[in-house]
Amino acid sequence: MSLHGRKAVQLLQDLKRARWLPPFNDKVVKEVAEEINNDSKEMERLAEQDSDEQLEPELLVALYLYDDIMERNKRCLLAYLNARLDVIEQLRWEVGRMVPEEKLQKLHEAEKQYLTNYNNSLDKYMKRYVPNCKHPLDLTANSEAPEDTNIQVRMLRDDPQLDGIVSNDSGLLRLRGGCQMMVKRSDVEHLLRSGKVQQVKTCRGDVVGGGF
């Protein structure tokens, strides 16, 4: 069969192959939309040919054929757009608001707008989940209760943006590449999520008496 209906599948194959998301393929999306339009015009033309009420079987099957191809293209496009939006929504839950630049570059303008709107809706909900609530409920925080208030972390790479963060409780934190320190969990949670620091697992044998 000719390329009719195959272009849209390329989009989905790219989506499956990419580790996170492929860059938004504007060109192919437009081509598929044009294919749908052309098929629709072809269908109108075929239907005009026969002015009788009873359609010939050849014409009927031809109309079925074009309709099926149009539906298929529409389904592929919609699935592509929907899958991308699902992944984009996950960004907020995984890395919070600090989205790495290389990820943002893969998004279409409309998708970036979607992400902003989604963030705003979520923030609005977290502030007003109950009438007259005093503190916003952070739904994106870790849902497991932590064992200790302080954890040992190691900074993986030197990052000029992060050199010297001021936290509410502990004052100034100097984070350098390769540096290992004991910090409050709440300060570094967002850094742990975005992969900039790594939690160091302490061996329970460190505790005198084996922890008993």
Partner: protein, 211 residues
């Protein structure tokens, strides 16, 4: 009816499988389905023409009684027999990434209950073999494939390289589960002092201790 999820990308990709159909009537404007290229393509599709189309198109046309469907080569009698006798040997991943999904859809559409049964049993058998090979919950792997074939690593790698997309997902999940389990058991251990290899108990002392 195999579950039809409009949004599932794997299902959309599975339906791309090519099948052969034969038309019952002429199709006006259907000439683009002919495989020949160039200007010689006729505008209309003739009655009784056999063309290759993707499964999604064939499915819709068959449901409307406009065409007749033939099973593709990857589901022929010989393969069905091999699936019944020894499913692990079949290199299904090479035939199609979505072998079971497409097979079940085709079997349902053509009302071929024998194919349905063969596919389901083969899938379950391969699942058993896959799970035995990939996870042992820390114990040594015991596998029927390894016992049967003299060179175990060869059989294992051959089987693992011929998986369909669904089986690959399961295999990855099993490995991840095994990793998580090892990590969990590892969190209970603490640093142990190894006994020194210099301090050997002499033979006569051991005998006296045992006696």
């Amino acid at each position: 009816m195999p579950c039809a999820d409009y949004w599932d990308i794997d299902e959309i990709l599975a339906e791309e499988q090519d099948v052969v159909i034969k038309t019952f009537h002429d199709v006006a404007g259907g000439g683009f389905l002919y495989p020949c290229t160039g200007a010689a393509k006729p505008r209309d599709l003739k009655e009784g023409a056999k063309v290759v189309v993707p499964y999604w198109l064939a499915q819709k046309l068959v449901r409307r009684n406009a065409v007749e469907l033939d099973l593709p080569v990857i589901f022929d009698e010989a393969t069905q027999e091999t699936l019944q006798t020894d499913p692990a040997v079949c290199r299904l991943g090479e035939k199609s990434r979505y072998y079971f999904e497409v097979g079940l859809k085709l079997a349902y559409l053509t009302k071929n209950f024998k194919l349905q049964e063969i596919l389901v049993n083969a899938y379950i058998q391969r699942y058993h073999d896959l799970m035995t090979l990939s996870s042992g919950m820390g114990e040594a792997n015991r596998s029927s494939i390894r016992k049967a074939v003299p060179s175990p690593s060869n059989a294992k790698s051959q089987f693992l390289s011929s998986l369909t997309a669904l089986e690959e997902d399961m295999h990855r999940g099993a490995r991840e589960a095994e990793d998580q389990y090892q990590r969990w058991t590892g969190s209970f251990s603490c640093w142990q002092l190894e006994p020194s290899h210099i301090a050997e108990v002499p033979a006569f002392k051991r005998a006296r201790a045992g006696a």
